[in-house]
Symmetry: C2
Subunit: 194 residues, 2 copies
Amino acid sequence: MYESLLQHVSRRIRLDKAEEDFFISVIKHQKLRKKQFFTQAGEVCKYSGYVLKGCLRTYEVDKDGNEHILQFSIEDWWVGDLYSFFTGTPSRYFVDALEPTELALIDLASQELLYEKVPKFERYFRLLVQNAFVASQRRVVSAISKPAEERYLEFHKRYPTLEQRIPQHQIASYLGITPESLSRIRKQLSNRKP
Amino acid sequence: MYESLLQHVSRRIRLDKAEEDFFISVIKHQKLRKKQFFTQAGEVCKYSGYVLKGCLRTYEVDKDGNEHILQFSIEDWWVGDLYSFFTGTPSRYFVDALEPTELALIDLASQELLYEKVPKFERYFRLLVQNAFVASQRRVVSAISKPAEERYLEFHKRYPTLEQRIPQHQIASYLGITPESLSRIRKQLSNRKP
DNA sequence: CCCATTTCTTGATCTACATCAAGGAGTTCC
DNA sequence: GGAACTCCTTGATGTAGATCAAGAAATGGG
């Protein structure tokens, strides 16, 4: 059931059987139907989730009710609001499923226990967060310095599979533009290229 | 000499005297004059730096030669290109000093040795990167969803001291707008408010 | 203290992208 | 197999912020 998760871990740190068993023992399983929420803004994010199958989106809703997608999470990525999770304060983000989704969950108490019993997990999560941080910083530079078309092409190149799976207007939201603009950008590109 | 750094560490993990001494033994000291580079794009970022005194900026230069500031680093923050540092690949960022600056440096070999000898440092850096990641994600949402005036007000509120220390056009670059626009935004605000 | 550089401001004009409006094309669901 | 969503496209028009240009103000190095 958690093969992919164990593999994800073992690619980064080495665990013996007992440590592996302990890790699995604190993991819970969750299924989400399409559109079902994993967390909602205003609530504390009680779990960190590892995507076993499916796809979710993390987004903020502004005062005009517009959604702004911060990230998509597919198989073999962790999802959740780190800040809310670790501080126990209400989250500002909504996370919901774009497809039928299965998750491996860990709660804060278990995560802390895990760090205590198997300190190597500090390293595992450090490596993950480090990569996520690097990616996030690149996205900041993109967002503040590049025109929409270029940002779309970057997305297209970096996440070709995601683009197949996700409706265009969600991608527009992720890029910080309107669905109309993305539609026009794609049209221009297809006229220009082939 | 490294009191602030040791304090920064000891607020997050508990070290005994031997561990502290070992940590300090791998740290080097560096002074930068104003405008001097800490790293340049195209070169490998050989060190992670902790700011003892002064202020630096991390920025990318686009194909038109425009600078886009990713972050400012003042006293008690770490600076450097994490990706280049850990992978040994050429950096895409320039980092230079906005003021006369003093840094505590650690190189990759030392960092790895540190993780090996004092695994608690995995936790220390996990906590730092985690906070940085959370902040970066917020900045992404801001950049893709909020108008320039609002982004400026957020900056103004979150980093009041920084705003005193740094020329306006650098702040404009950080916000992803032109110096002219920031000047106009500030004018409007001062007409509207007082 | 003075010259050079850096920084900030203001005006005129331009443009990327938003907004508003509407129709068409799939999907999904009894 | 039609009703109701959800999604995508296209056109007309509006606007936040960019660009270009020029000068004023502040700063700093010698």
